[in-house]
């Protein structure tokens, strides 16, 4: 119990230092909120209506109906009519349309007669994801038109005839029926805020004491090394978790991202992650002599790769097969699995135990390594 007394003193000292340092408040409070607001509003990959330019060589009632169907659909909007193919391509090249629909002459007559009728779709493939969503939307629209025309013709020709065969596909979208990309991104921001607050602040606080030479003073006091370490890290862990809770509240009540599972389980899973980031912060401070160097290392060697390799924005399934196993070592990946599972799908330990176990292993391992190296440097 006696070791708790110096620990309390150390924590108080650290908190006083944080308050006295004008740079700490922006890092600990302002930056997380700013990130949440900017990311929460800007990080949407919601697909807007694709802009369709129409080149109608046919000018028949059928071709006008086709254009109207595109205009009436939720997935498209008309970007205007063009006179020739060159104009259509120019519109796509200038980025003022995403798709061009080219209806050849006599198309309407062929369609009505049941002859092969083909339209041409010109697609700007630059933004590949919206392009493929646009293509499947356009193909679906044409297919449903084809079925209607066929049914109409069959009904006219022969009342006894069977309707066209095939299957009907019914869709059921779980967890995020309106396809809001914010639901996917906001849990990621929560994780990144935790990462930045705990890691950068820790490494900078430790390196600062190194720069000022005050760490030597602490080392020669009768306080034990583990107590020293705990006194240094606890305030930042607490700040990180507090920031996490704050972000969770804002995302629930302001951005209306659901929290379907247990908030307690969520915060519990954040603890091994924070252990890992504190360890990384310590590691960074061990190799850095100046605060700038610490921040540079933290940002470029740790934070950026972690974000890119965690599946926060770029899905892990789309990565090359060679790279995928390496992502297992990224703590952020497992935390994201837990956060998204709990918040969106209402999952608990029963579903998420593999991610939690890996998170715990990485957290304890990183921290143990960092603490050992750190104490060795002090000795």
């Amino acid at each position: 119990m006696s070791s708790l007394v110096p620990l309390g003193g150390l924590v108080r000292k650290e908190l006083r230092q944080i308050r006295a340092d004008p740079r700490m408040i922006p890092i600990l409070v302002v930056a997380p909120l700013l990130q949440l607001v900017i990311f929460g509003y800007a990080a949407t990959m919601d697909v807007t209506r694709a802009r369709v330019a129409v080149l109608d060589h046919d000018a028949s009632p059928e071709s006008r109906e086709l254009a109207n169907r595109f205009a009436a659909s939720d997935s498209f909007q008309l970007a205007g009519h063009v006179a020739d193919g060159a104009a259509a391509e120019a519109l796509l090249a200038a980025g003022r349309a995403d798709l061009a629909l080219i209806v050849p002459a006599r198309w309407g007559r062929d369609l009505a007669a049941g002859a092969p009728a083909e339209v041409q779709l010109l697609v700007d493939g630059t933004e590949s994801t919206s392009a493929s969503i646009g293509i499947s939307g356009a193909t679906g629209l044409l297919a449903s038109l084809a079925r209607e025309v066929a049914a109409r013709r069959l009904a006219q020709a022969d009342a006894e005839a069977q309707p066209p065969g095939g299957v009907e596909v019914r869709r059921l979208v779980l967890y995020n029926p309106d396809f809001k990309s914010r639901f996917f991104m906001v849990p990621g921001i929560l994780a990144v805020v935790l990462l930045i607050v705990t890691m950068i602040a820790t490494s900078m606080a430790v390196v600062r004491e190194k720069e000022l030479g005050t760490f030597e003073q602490l080392v020669v006091t009768p306080v034990t090394r583990p107590t020293l370490l705990a006194g240094k890290l606890l305030p930042f862990a607490a700040f990180g978790l507090l920031d996490g809770a704050l972000v969770l509240l804002v995302s629930r009540w302001w951005f209306e991202v659901p929290l379907r599972g247990s908030a307690l389980f969520l915060m519990g899973a954040a603890v091994p992650f924070v252990l890992c980031t504190l360890g990384l912060g310590l590691l960074v401070s061990t190799v850095s002599r100046a605060q700038q160097q610490a921040m540079m290392t933290a940002v470029f060697i740790v934070i950026l790769p972690m974000i890119y390799f965690s599946g926060m924005v770029f899905p892990i399934e789309s990565m090359p097969a060679v790279v995928q196993p390496f992502t297992e070592a990224v703590a952020l990946k497992h935390l994201l699995l837990v956060l998204r599972g709990v918040m969106l799908r209402g999952a608990g330990l029963a579903e998420l135990w593999p991610a939690v176990a890996k998170l715990a292993a990485i957290g304890v391992g990183t921290f143990a390594l960092a603490a050992t190296l750190f104490q060795k440097r002090l000795a």
Binding site: L121, S132, G166, R170, F183, L304, E317, E351
Partner: protein, 369 residues
């Protein structure tokens, strides 16, 4: 001429500091290499679950139609609805196909049986794309399986598809310009910011300021060597993108050079400005990192389409230089368009470079008075 003297001094200093040379030129290429490999939003290998209650030849060929490409990977054969819920809850599958009993019978009778596709919508973008693919595959397979006179009566209304600029619809070709812009912005700004910081630490900044050099000469002299370095970095980054990721340039290289010069000069003057505005070097460095990294990633159109943002943020993005550089790069590299289309980008980047240069010169002149 005096600007050249400052530039010569700067070059001599840089040549004695191989570490910052490496950081400035090699780091961008390493980052492209590292991050470029994971830079993809393509929807492939979606984990698929199948609940086949019919167990017929028709239902099996429906499943085969879905798994034949590399879009869907059959991960689990599910036994019941509870099984399905569990697999989706645990994210072991993100899309599931449910075929009810009597599917084959109804299909051959022309009764148009329904199949159900259940999708985990958490990742909205992938989910929408996967759902679109699944519906197309199932509809086509269904029509083929029905294979009866009625299906043949459907007039073959079809679409001939021609995808311009990025025929394989590979998302990395779309994303690479964004990554290039972000890395160049961050590294260029930080590099000049650090060079001022170093002059301050060694006290040589005061000497420069009391010398008879004009503020413009100091700024230009500082910016010139770094611009050359940044252009070397740009060339290295573009070369890496070409060799490793197959990003070929389809437009005019001179337009590309113009865009790059304007962007890099602007970014460097921005770094000078920050370090002259903020006395504390560490704070200046932090501001430079935050002020370049976050906007260049989020508000530039790199990953998140600007058109889907709230109007206020779209307006804010007008102030982000990376936005213009990215759309210019995409124009030159992917679409192969020239100045006739890209003049707004060139104009915006010129305005950015001129403003930042002007502000940096103005600040240095004021410090001197």
């Amino acid at each position: 001429m005096s600007a050249l003297a400052v530039a010569r001094k700067e070059v001599r200093q840089l040549s004695r500091d191989p570490q910052s040379l490496i950081v400035h030129v090699a780091l961008p290429a390493v980052m492209i290499l590292l991050f470029g490999t994971v830079l993809s939003l393509d929807v492939r290998h979606v984990p698929l679950g199948v609940l086949d209650r019919d167990g017929s030849a028709a239902s099996r060929s429906l499943v085969a139609a879905m798994t034949s490409g590399e879009l869907f990977d059959l991960r689990e054969r599910l036994e019941s609805e509870e099984d399905l819920d569990r697999a989706l809850d645990a994210a072991r599958v993100s899309l599931a196909l449910v075929v009810q009993p009597g599917f084959e019978r109804d299909l051959s009778a022309g009764r148009e049986p329904a199949v159900r596709v259940v999708v985990d919508g958490s990742n909205a973008l992938s989910a929408q794309t996967a759902l679109g693919y699944a519906e197309l595959l199932l509809t086509a397979a269904g029509a083929r399986l029905a294979g009866d006179p009625a299906a043949a009566a459907v007039p073959p209304l079809s679409a001939r598809l021609r995808v311009l600029f990025n025929p394989e619809l590979a998302s990395d070709r779309f994303l690479l310009p964004g990554l290039i812009a972000m890395i160049l912005m961050v590294v260029s700004t930080i590099a000049t910011c650090l060079s001022i910081v170093k002059e301050r630490e060694t006290g040589t900044m005061e000497q420069l300021l009391v010398s008879p050099l004009s503020a413009g000469a100091v700024v230009l002299g500082k910016a010139l060597p770094y611009t050359a370095l940044s252009l070397a970095a740009t060339a290295l980054v573009l070369g890496t993108s070409r060799v490793v990721f197959g990003l070929t340039l389809s437009g005019n290289p001179l337009v590309l050079l113009l865009l790059a010069v304007l962007f890099v000069v602007g970014a460097q003057s921005f770094g000078l400005l920050i370090s002259s505005l903020i006395a504390s070097q560490q704070v200046a460095f932090q501001v430079a990192t935050y002020a370049t990294m976050l906007p260049s990633f989020v508000l530039s159109g790199f990953v998140f389409p600007l058109r889907s943002m709230p109007v206020a943020l779209q307006a804010l993005s007008w102030l982000v230089p990376a936005r213009y550089f990215i759309s210019g790069l995409r124009g030159v590299v992917l679409r192969g368009v020239g100045l006739e289309v890209l003049w707004p980008e060139v104009a915006a980047l010129s305005a950015f470079a001129a403003t930042m240069l002007g502000l940096a010169v103005w600040r240095l002149r004021r410090r001197r008075l």
